[in-house]
């Protein structure tokens, strides 16, 4: 049975925890709004880009002259998994879910006898995967100093990946991130970026129109495919940013509520103990008086 003083200390401590989680929730809410705005601002570019690329890929894709980024290297023995997570924790299952998906994929590929390499973006994913896949790490991108994700960040990551691809380090690249649906739902997603695949947008808004290409279809494709990788990574980073804040917001909301419940429970316990002490003292006094 904890003493009254212990209980009091405990209540104070939970109260300050609640203050902190409450503050974190509000900060996450504010950041979420910003992250969502930039995710939405980035969407038109990605959509149009993919629509044009899909059209181009469909017309050039079959031929042998298609660039390697579209056609692939001809084999799929070496896979690069680009795992994008947050730099900070305390955001519920956000990092763990992405890491879990990546780990499952890595196991599956290794089961098939493929070679797996892992590039991590964000500290938390690195920490989560270090134990199981640590020996497969080929690199790490640190974004902890980046206040606001910009396109240049995505370009740097894409450049890194592309130079590895040109160097023949891998055949297939897949990025892992969490797609933002709403504050309580973020879906961990795997998306193949090399060789590029365009599915949904294939129809596009330009159906029927026959385009002139300048310089040529192949040249445009060769120019745009590397940009496509950067674009895919950029939208993944933006989605991830919004997802992280959303996950943190709901995690902190839960934590605040749990702290509140705990305070209520402890307060009841505290009051009961205090009453018990008073009753005890009374009994002692009364029985003392009676004994006289």
């Amino acid at each position: 049975m904890p003493s009254l003083k212990d209980l009091k200390n405990r209540i104070e401590s939970v109260k300050s925890t609640r203050k902190i989680t409450k503050a974190m929730q509000m900060v996450a809410a504010a950041k979420l709004r910003r992250a969502q705005e930039s995710a939405e601002a980035g969407r038109p570019y990605a959509e149009r880009f993919n629509a044009v690329m899909a059209g181009l890929a469909a017309s050039v894709g079959g031929s042998d002259s298609a660039p390697k980024l579209l056609r692939g290297t001809g084999s799929d023995d070496v896979h690069l998994l680009v795992v994008m997570t947050a730099e900070r924790g305390l955001c519920g299952g956000f990092n763990a879910n992405i890491a879990k998906l990546a780990r499952a994929k890595a196991e599956e590929l290794r089961g098939k006898g493929k070679t797996v390499k892992v590039l991590t973006v964000g500290k938390k994913g690195r920490d989560a995967l270090k134990r199981d896949l640590g020996d497969l790490f080929v690199g790490h991108v640190d974004l902890s100093d980046v206040k606001r994700i910009g396109y240049t960040n995505a370009q740097d990551i894409a450049k890194d990946i592309l130079s590895r691809f040109d160097g023949g380090e891998f055949d297939v690249a897949t990025i892992f991130y969490a797609k933002f649906v709403n504050v309580v739902t973020q879906i961990p997603t795997a998306q193949q970026v090399i060789p590029a695949s365009f599915e949904d947008e294939a129809a596009g808004d330009d159906s029927g129109a026959i385009f002139d290409y300048e310089p040529s279809e192949e040249a445009i494709l060769a120019d745009l495919l590397p940009k496509g990788v950067a674009t895919a990574i950029f939208s993944a980073l933006l989605e991830n940013g919004a997802s992280e804040q959303g996950a943190r917001m709901s995690a902190m909301d839960n934590a605040t509520r749990n702290a509140g419940e705990m305070i209520d429970k402890l307060t009841i316990q505290f009051n009961r103990s205090r009453q018990a002490v008073i009753t005890n003292e009374l009994i002692e006094i009364i029985s003392g008086a009676e004994a006289l």
Partner: protein
């Protein structure tokens, strides 16, 4: 109005412009071209340069690098990796471009392909001329 078309300029980070225009001069990879309403559908990649927009309300200019333009007859979308309104361009933006152009020029000089060297040299000259044009 029949003699305008919808023009969209988007960069990965935001959408910069969306308005009805009469003509747009695009710095295409093979040379500048001007798109007007009912232009044949064309897709062209961009080289770094100035995008000049003529709208009934007035004209504006943007510095664009990388990306492509999709001309659709009644609409025109320009997707640029970087797009900055000329009024906001600073010397440092330009310096960045010039450094980039110089780097690719130097890289090209190491190779044997003369056309690549010429192209890189032209890009470098273009970028420097751009600075003079904008009086920076």
């Amino acid at each position: 109005m029949a003699n305008t078309m919808q023009f969209d300029l988007v960069s990965p980070e935001r959408s910069l412009a969306s308005l009805a225009v009469t003509a747009v001069q695009i710095p295409g990879a093979d040379g500048d071209m001007t798109a007007m309403p009912d232009h044949a559908p064309t897709i062209t990649t961009l080289r770094p340069g100035l995008l000049k927009v003529e709208a009934p309300e007035g004209s504006s200019e943007y510095l664009v690098t990388g990306g492509f333009a999709q001309i659709n007859g009644d609409s025109l979308s320009v997707l640029a990796e970087k797009a900055i309104p000329v009024t906001e361009v600073t010397r440092s933006h330009l310096d960045e471009l010039i450094t980039e152009a110089r780097a690719s020029h130097d890289a090209a000089k190491g190779g044997d392909d003369q056309t690549v060297v010429d192209e890189a040299a032209k890009l470098l000259a273009d970028m420097e001329a751009l600075g003079t044009h904008m009086s920076l």
